[in-house]
Subunit: 463 residues, 4 copies
């Protein structure tokens, strides 16, 4: 879960990148970084832990001159939470300085790292992106493009990349197309971004979405298509549409908002419920609740209010006044709920703890019945392609029946959308990755990947 941006051929590229990162903040709040390259090919970077708004001010942006820039906002996947892991990753190589922003996750990183370390490579972060960087730097190819291609031939997994080599930008999406990447035009320059909402904010007009395997080069705003990567069966991440992307974005050719409303409608058809009111868990399932209300005819209400001032660090009162974090974030509207049979629509269910607390809170506000409807199937396996799902042990649906989950949550009825229903709503695309729901992983998943995620000594980063 990361957001990436590239800018070419636009004055004050760092400021534009900053603006674009603002729109991608939902893709990662752990760290934010920008590398800018000026006319003399000098690269400067600024990176820090936390939000874009916390890391950049006028002074910081003034120190990033240039008309080429790469930006990144990160939510940890592999690699622990330390500044060293913040991207873009900047390195000096034989062919010059590279700045790399990576969205996705490489599934053979542990194996490749082991080989590289044997050959004397040194690693300073626990990020899988560093593996890619080493492969690029060690390639004998005569051009950066050749080096990148060499490296990409060796890696497996999910990657949407923006790479600045000197003043040239490269953008590439793996052949399975797990993660989105779009190209926009702004004046005579180009903007690359994870989602179209970033293009909207910077005022760029959408040029095209990169298809799986697409590899382009951009010099001073001029795009050159490079030979595509070797083809693989397409497997777009369906979770981008279900949960991850912003509803105002267009992802994989689909309006996210439209897909979500359709997921709500499918859910109402597949798992109908009788109730007095239907409401969402704001904001992620708003569109789904709307779709559910539309098809079911049950009246839409706002049964839960979200407190948007919740910071990342919350200090719990002492033992006597222990408060679940979910209570800080959501409060029920008693007037809507009291005495009613409530249909609650949510996008998905991971561990189940938050939903359980929400249900308890809704009941305490006087609900007569609570019916939970989920606009995606049971999550039974971890994502190995860049979404920070917990291990199988923590996934409630990996080891419990739906009836057991219902009982755990304390709801009167529980309904999940089917895999088919979800895919139908997600659009006409034939190629989706739905491994976390179906267990059908589109790439080999090495046994020790789990170890990678658990920070084995070999790859532990001393920070």
């Amino acid at each position: 879960m990361c957001g990436i941006i590239g800018v070419s051929g636009i004055a004050d590229a760092a400021r534009l990148t900053y603006l674009g990162l603002y729109a991608l903040q939902h893709r990662g709040q752990e760290s934010a970084g920008i590398v800018a390259i000026n006319r003399d090919c000098n690269a400067r970077s600024h990176r820090g832990m936390g939000l874009v708004s916390e890391n950049f001010d006028d002074t910081a942006l003034d120190r990033l001159p240039g008309d080429v820039a790469v930006g990144h906002t990160r939510y940890s996947t592999t690699g622990s939470t330390v500044l060293a892991n913040a991207q873009p990753c900047s390195v000096n190589t034989r062919l010059g300085t590279l700045a790399i922003a990576h969205n996705g996750n490489l599934t053979n990183a542990v194996e490749l790292k082991r080989e590289l370390v044997e050959k004397g490579a040194i690693f300073t972060t626990s990020s899988d992106t560093e593996v890619l960087v080493h492969l690029i730097a060690r390639s004998d190819a005569e051009t950066v493009e050749g080096q990148i291609r060499d490296a990409l031939e060796q890696v497996e997994g999910a990657y949407s990349l923006v790479i600045a080599a000197g003043r040239t930008l490269y953008a590439v999406v793996d052949s399975r197309g797990f993660r989105p990447l779009v190209l926009g035009r702004l004046g005579s320059g180009m903007v690359i971004a994870s989602e179209t909402c970033a293009l909207d904010l910077v005022g760029a007009s959408m040029a095209c979405e990169l298809e799986p395997g697409d590899f382009v080069r951009i010099d001073d705003g001029r795009v050159t298509e490079l030979p595509r990567l070797s083809p693989r069966p397409v497997s777009r991440c369906v979770f981008e549409l279900v949960y991850f992307a912003r509803p105002d974005s267009t992802v994989f050719g689909e309006s996210v908002d439209r897909v979500r409303r359709e997921l709500g409608r499918e859910l109402a058809r597949e798992r109908p419920a009788t109730g007095d009111v239907v409401f969402s868990v704001p904001d992620s399932s708003n569109a789904m609740a709307l779709g559910f209300s539309e098809v079911s005819g049950i009246k839409l209400e706002h049964g839960l209010i979200r407190n948007h001032y919740v910071g990342r660090t919350f200090i719990n009162p002492t033992q006597n006044h222990r408060v679940e974090k979910v209570k800080i974030k959501f409060n029920p509207v008693r007037d809507v709920i009291h005495g009613k049979s409530c249909v609650v629509v949510d996008d998905s269910l991971v561990r189940g703890n938050t939903s359980r607390s929400l249900v308890r809170m809704i009941r305490a506000a006087g609900a007569r019945e609570v019916h939970l409807r989920l606009a995606s199937p049971p999550i039974t396996g971890p994502c190995h392609y860049g979404i920070d799902t917990p291990t199988r042990e923590e996934l409630i649906a990996a080891s419990h029946s739906i009836e057991e989950i219902r009982e755990f949550l304390g709801v009167d009825s529980l309904g999940y959308l089917s895999l088919d229903g979800m895919l139908r709503a997600a659009g006409s695309h034939t190629g989706f990755c739905h491994a976390c729901f179906s267990g059908q992983y589109p790439t080999p998943v090495p046994e020790d990947l789990v170890q990678l995620r658990h920070a084995s000594p070999l790859i532990a980063t001393p920070a």
Copy 2:
């Protein structure tokens, strides 16, 4: 615009207050403070600029021991934006140490201050609350209760107050009842708060709402009703219901969410519109759009997505990429809007600039028509009772006809809810203050109040 909390008879009162302030954060983000009093009557305080979550950590809360506490979260009304103005305000007086949290605004503060200064009083802040403090301290009454009463007899305007005098808490609401204040019970202790959503979060059960003129004393969680203040015509602030309070609160005996949906319904009845879709400006007008859709039969959609990661400081890109702040905050959903006749519901219109930008943005996303409906009447005058409205000059409706405003905003049609419609929706209460809409100020408004708000040299605070 402030949120206030009092806690009595509950261990770790500061931590509970912290939690309650979290729920009242929407009432003021400029500063936050807590004063806690321990068994030995020692008062300690911590205050700072910014959000509750930014100002308090475990260390800060550990330094605030005691089972009595007063908390405040502030949005500047009178008084400039400096730490010295942050509340609660703590002072040593003849009868001991007082900590005061004030929500509201005194309309005769300038006059009283002038008199007090003549008598040798010194002022260290520009807050009107300091006037109150001086009046209390100078009273000859033999008890703190008597001193408070003496002081309140001299002030005019809006005040909901929580005052700690030693280990005793006092809570009082002015006789017109401009601002809300509720009492909740938690075990053997009591919690006072501006809104019920704070009681919900700390787990207190609502005991009662203070009526206009109510004055109570709380010792170790035991409430004593004191003689009420001299009666005045009730004038509850209708804007609390329209915009300011959180929708999950019950204010002036009414569910805020229910009132807002009813405002939307009234609006649809009074100012119908034809359109393909209706949507809100999230989140403040969500309930109103829901009510409008219900009555009008026009399909509810999410046409605007709000970015909740917008920090308070935003650095605008340079001249070339100037971006309106509203664009950072909202993005249209093209798929919902494109080619459609859109009915946009908002709660109110102040200067008009934000709405104008939003309309432009909606049109750029392809809207065929834009019809704006406002769930309150034209705002034609400033609030003198604690809400931070701009001066008359900046209020678009103070000097422009509705047709002129429509033209300025660039909408196809514009409809405001009538005063009667708003009051009907706001509930059966007869006594509302609607001065900002009607110009009927319930108290005398001295000429120089405006000067107070503009920081005349006399009251300028050297910080």
Copy 3:
């Protein structure tokens, strides 16, 4: 222990004040503040906890425009360590805004505070300066000058004051003249400062030192002598010369460095020692060791090296590696000390703990003998006039004989300079306060002063 500055009639007065405070940093490191007043009589202030360099940057100074300024650097005497106590103290009074910087301590503050509180005055700090402010504000005098005079007639104790009233500066020294205050000329403007080293740094030339009871008014750099305060016997603080002032300053008409060398010479005459080497405890007794060496003929060496990077917060290693703070600050030079009989010269002895540790350290470095010589008499009582000495209980010489102290310190011999010797070295002035050495307090010292210093509930500041 505080440093104060005033500037009149010089552009960018705040920046000049900042510079002057830099030179007075040794007089107080707890907080620093500046108030600047511009041509329109607008006063702005900036204050913070910690060093001058930590509190002011370009941005902060840019926000303090004007050609009149008052600055203060503070070491807590009365009043706890909180920002609210930081000076200059700014208040709005009947005759306008005042900014006050106070060096000294009022001995009847508790009594006056009690009376003021009875009359309804409110106190927001625990500083005795606030008492003065109230007295000024409550005076019926028709001019600020009159008000200040009224107030000063009521207070007892030590005060050197710089007060800005609008654009006029007042400088005044109490009639006993406890604390120094000098006037310097810079171009057509004037600079007032606690010590001449601040004049040196800002490039001002010394005009005169204020004599006890002097009261002057400065408008746009023009000085007017006002009638002097009622005369009292002069009692200049001798400790300013012994320890507190910077050696490059001229204080009470004497070169501090010269006085200190003379103290060392007197000490060598009065309390001779036989030894191989003599050295100081750097830097406070450097000049005294020089004088001692000169008279005794014993070779001067550098036996102790001071680490100037010691921050204010030092984290002690765990139990196993417990380290005395003095070890962080000083390290012996083994080559100088080993096998030698060492004469160590220090300025004074307060609790004795630091000296004891130093002696142990010197012995561990191989000293054959250690002879401690102190260039002032035994300290037997607290200072009530602004120097932060501990209570009588903690003063080792208040309750122990010189032989007991010698044993406690673990030195082979111990010699204190006599009161007469000290006064002889301090110069021809007849009027010194030497109360901490002699117990002869020049003012009545109320019984409850000690309570004031121990923060009785009455005056506890809730911060």
Copy 4:
């Protein structure tokens, strides 16, 4: 200019390292870092820009458990001022995790870096230490010891190193012995440090100083001597004794304080001066002035007072009050200087600007004559072995005659100590590096070293 520490076999090694770094703070104030390794071989690190006291608090030290630690305090030599360059440098290699602290400078780093980059190595810092790390990681040797030896055989220049490989510490000094490194014993553990003053502070007793070429291994406090590096002519840095080391340290077998006093005596013999008083530029030339006074018989005084509160960032007042930074740091004692012929002793002269300002300041304080005596020869070339001297262009003695310098400084006479005189005072050691004075560089100095120091694009670090 760096300080390094290693600890083995002592509980809470990080806290001991912290303490040791405190004592080495004079060797570098740009950044500070500690890596600690616990019983399970897990390494954790904390590094930051600024002083030791600014970077470490209890929380930070608690996060560094273990009985093995490596610490570093850095003053930039090669490599720009960024956090990425802060040491210790931690990396994962084939044989495990390494933490390296380096004092010195490699003279063939540019050449080696070029070769490594050609082979695909990636560099993330501009520090020459990273070159060493790559060489270690790429060695085929079967043990870490072998790898380190392989790497050291390829590098030229100055290095005193402490390396932690898992729980084993290695300490090594290059065969020319440029920089000091000492071993101390504390209980059953060992402490390695740049200077003995660090051993003193942590309470360790000096075990031995590492001789040029020494290479030792320490496991749980047990030291094993490893085969020495190939011998080279010894060239101890004489500047460590003249200026850099702390006077309370023993360096290269000599008491620094004693050497400095001897330098002062030699100076008085070689370059006598007639004057009324002699004084130092505190604190670096204190001992030299003492020696000068001793031999010359001229009375020692304190003519300059140093303000120890000068922070690293100083804001200069505006154009009108421009103040030289030297004035903030030093102030003359008028009483000592006025009307006198002053002999000023300083340790060395680099650019000449500071001395020139000092002289002007001394004259302004009324000196009749100023005679400057320098306790080292003219500096005519840059140091390539780790001391941050400026380029030749900036060294005043590289292009000016002594008479020209005298004139520039504005002194009545100027005397430098001769090379022979300096070496005589520095002790019986035959092998000193005095390249900056004599131009006799003990290693080949590649042409492009200068470019390395000027950050050529090839090695520019994008931070």
